[in-house]
Amino acid sequence: MAKQDTQLLKIEDLVLHFKVGKTGVVRAVDGVNFNLGFKEAVVVLGESGCGKTSLAKAILRLLPKNIETYSGKVILNGVDTMAMDDETYRKDVRWVKMSMVPQAAMNSLNPVMKVGEQVAEPVVIHNGASKEDALKQARKMFAHVGVPDQFIDRYAFELSGGMRQRSAIAMALVTAPDLIILDEPTSALDVLTQANIFNVLKHIKNEMETSFILITHDIATSSELADKVAVMYAGQIVEVSDAERFFSEPLHPYAKKLMASVPKLRATVEPDFIIGQPPSLLDPPTGCRFAERCPRRFDLCKDEPPVEEKDDRLVKCWLYV
């Protein structure tokens, strides 16, 4: 590596706005900053519609047509990938440095391709390997994620949901990228399969030199995997913290509420809930975006809160200024 960096990924001021209709602008990702170290797993938590998936797509530059603004910096290994043109980006970054397990990954397998070939595809595309070599590589990955060998010659529809999910993860791993973005890898799976998938992820994390960005609603299970937690609200990151301290004592009022909503196994405490809905990203409120629902709202919340650092933890709330 030309530039030795302590951080694998630095995201600076990442903005992704969509056009809606003639004049509407959805501020899906609105000025996101965070860092990710080597061999580190960050869990991105947040409600539905707060821009988690858009963040993942913005990092991997998988953009729809109706883009209003797409700016900021995504520095990977000291290289600003935002400065690359699309073709270089496609060849040098996608799946070489960063890969992704998309949301509803079970549907992300080509229905007219055998899963083995599908998993081998990135190797063929990026390393220019022959189909046989690529299949060998794919076979290795299948072993990693725990898909038996005989499934390689089957089509996606012949596999169970969990198998398909594992195959999608195998596909993300097959080129040995530095970073894998997992977008709700366990949604639409039953609890047992979810547990299985998380075991696979833990296993991979221990075995391979890979960092993760894990986007999920599932706070409880993700706690097993996370080194770091980022909480997203209305297109912004409101708290970044190491996992240990976050799970015992979240800082941001939203994060506190979020943690309180998780049912506890042996406690008599009723799970809490947050009143109201997240604001529309079409026209987010000025000032703190959580203010409207915040139990600890006060005068200062009319203005945009700064991001404060407190004991290596970042929090975007007037309470900590």
Binding site: L60, L62, K65, R90, K91, R94, W95, V96, S99, M100, P102, Q103, A104, A105, N107, S108, L109, N110, P111, V112, E121, P122, I125, H126, A168, M171
Partner: protein, 447 residues
């Protein structure tokens, strides 16, 4: 390949598919037979042939096998050629260099109907003085009827049926009827039995020679019959098969594959490209198809290649593109396409290896059904006078039949034979197509 075999096995579960496939196989066999029996140059030569090539066959003759279903058998063409049978000739050479050549051409008349036309074709060799011949007919009941005395050139034809003097002599009756009638019978019946055409020739030079070929044209001929130019219809019927199959296949392949590619590319990139493609399609769909083809045929060329090219070009931007676009729009948004984009598959890889294979199952049955529709189109064009001027095709036969009033005159075979082959082809592909539709279109499977 494996999936092809699998699909084929599944296809063979449908009886209609088996029937359809064997019918297609039969058509292919017919094509191979055509190419073997009449190689291209020979077929063209015969098809565009003149009196020279076809003088031995009758006009408007029905297929010979129709006699199997008839109580009163129609006459077949009788040909006797002295050059094939030297023993029919006897030469008596005189000392002054002249010689008397007697040619006796025996034949058997056995039909319940009369011949349609009688002619003798003479060939002779001489330097200055033309040989002289006397022609007479010997009937089975022992009569000898003198027909004509004439001097002959190197090649000469005596058309007995058009001999005015003979007709007068036969009280105005047509020779082909009067000569073969039983004079005793009333009403007149054909007299069956062994006839002989006697020719007594005199040559006036040493080495001079006469040969004669007698042809009594009949009402039936060959497997397929003949047309107004005495041509054997078997040639265009056989040759029409590969032409029709090739035309249908090329047109179907050309239009579907190209329009699918255009639809895929324009849908994938979208924006102005998609817009332009759609507008071109809409304009093309309004433009009348046949008049354009007629214009091309009239002003430019009627060769089958040009017509095929025009059909493909006009067909590419047809309604198919809209169908494909609808399917591609849906496929384009599938998660697996986004996943492919995410792992860095290039645009062309996504278009050709991800999007197109998705549409192929829908395409195959359509494609099979498209082949006969282009075969019919080619025939229709030929009937409209836009047939290839050189190649023998099914449509050409129907065109000829139509312009010669086949249906008024009761020459149904002339229309029915090519029509049958056309329907046979259509049926064959339709049966396979419907079975394929069931296999590739799971919603139809249970029904």
């Amino acid at each position: 390949m494996k999936s092809f075999v699998k699909n084929l096995k599944e296809l063979l579960k449908y009886p209609s598919a088996i029937a359809g496939l064997s019918m297609i196989a039969l058509l292919i066999l017919l094509s191979i037979l055509a190419l073997n029996k009449y190689p291209y140059s020979e077929a063209i030569k015969l098809w565009r042939g003149t009196e020279q090539d076809w003088y031995t066959s009758p006009k408007f003759a029905q297929p010979a096998w129709t006699n199997w279903f008839r109580l009163n058998k129609l006459s077949e063409t009788i040909t006797v050629d002295s050059s094939q049978h030297p023993d029919y000739i006897s030469v008596d050479e005189k000392s002054d260099g002249s010689s008397v050549i007697k040619i006796s051409l025996p034949f058997t008349f056995n039909a319940d109907s009369y011949q349609t036309d009688l002619a003798v074709y003479f060939k002779s060799t001489f330097k200055d003085k033309k040989p002289f011949v006397a022609v007479s007919l010997k009937t089975p009941d022992g009569r000898t009827i003198r027909l004509k005395n004439m001097a002959i050139g190197t090649t000469d034809t005596y058309r007995i049926s058009q001999d005015k003097a003979l007709i007068r002599k036969l009280d105005g009756e047509q020779p082909e009827i009067a000569l073969f009638q039983d004079p005793e019978s009333n009403p007149p019946q054909p007299l069956k039995g062994d006839y002989a055409l006697e020719i007594e020739g005199v040559t006036f030079e040493p080495g001079s020679d006469i040969n004669a070929e007698f042809i009594a044209f009949g009402d039936v001929s060959g497997i397929a019959g003949t047309d107004h130019l005495r041509r054997n219809l078997l040639i265009p019927l056989l040759w029409g098969t590969p032409v029709a199959l090739l035309f249908g296949l090329l047109a179907a392949v050309g239009t579907t594959i190209i329009s699918m590619s255009i639809a895929a590319v324009s849908t994938w990139y979208g924006g102005w490209l998609d817009n332009i493609t759609q507008r071109i399609v809409e304009i093309n769909m309004i433009l009348p198809f046949l008049p354009i083809l007629i214009m091309v045929g009239t002003f430019y060329s009627r060769s089958i290649g040009v017509i095929l090219g025009t059909v493909i070009i006009l067909g590419i931007f047809g309604s198919q593109i809209k169908t494909f676009r609808a399917m591609f729009l849906q496929t384009k948004e599938s998660p697996y396409i986004e996943a492919a984009r995410a792992y860095g598959a290039s645009d062309s890889r996504i278009i050709f290896q991800y999007m197109m294979p998705r549409v192929i199952p829908v395409l195959i049955p359509q494609f099979i059904l498209l082949i006969p529709s282009y075969v019919f189109l080619e025939a229709s064009l030929a009937i409209l006078g836009l047939g290839d001027p050189i190649l023998p095709t099914w449509g050409k036969i129907i065109d000829d039949a139509y312009s010669n009033g086949a249906l008024y005159n009761g020459w149904y075979y002339w229309v029915l034979e090519p029509a049958f082959l056309l329907m046979f082809t259509g049926l064959a592909f339709a049966m396979v197509g419907f079975a394929l539709d069931r296999i590739f279109n799971p919603r139809l499977r249970g029904q």
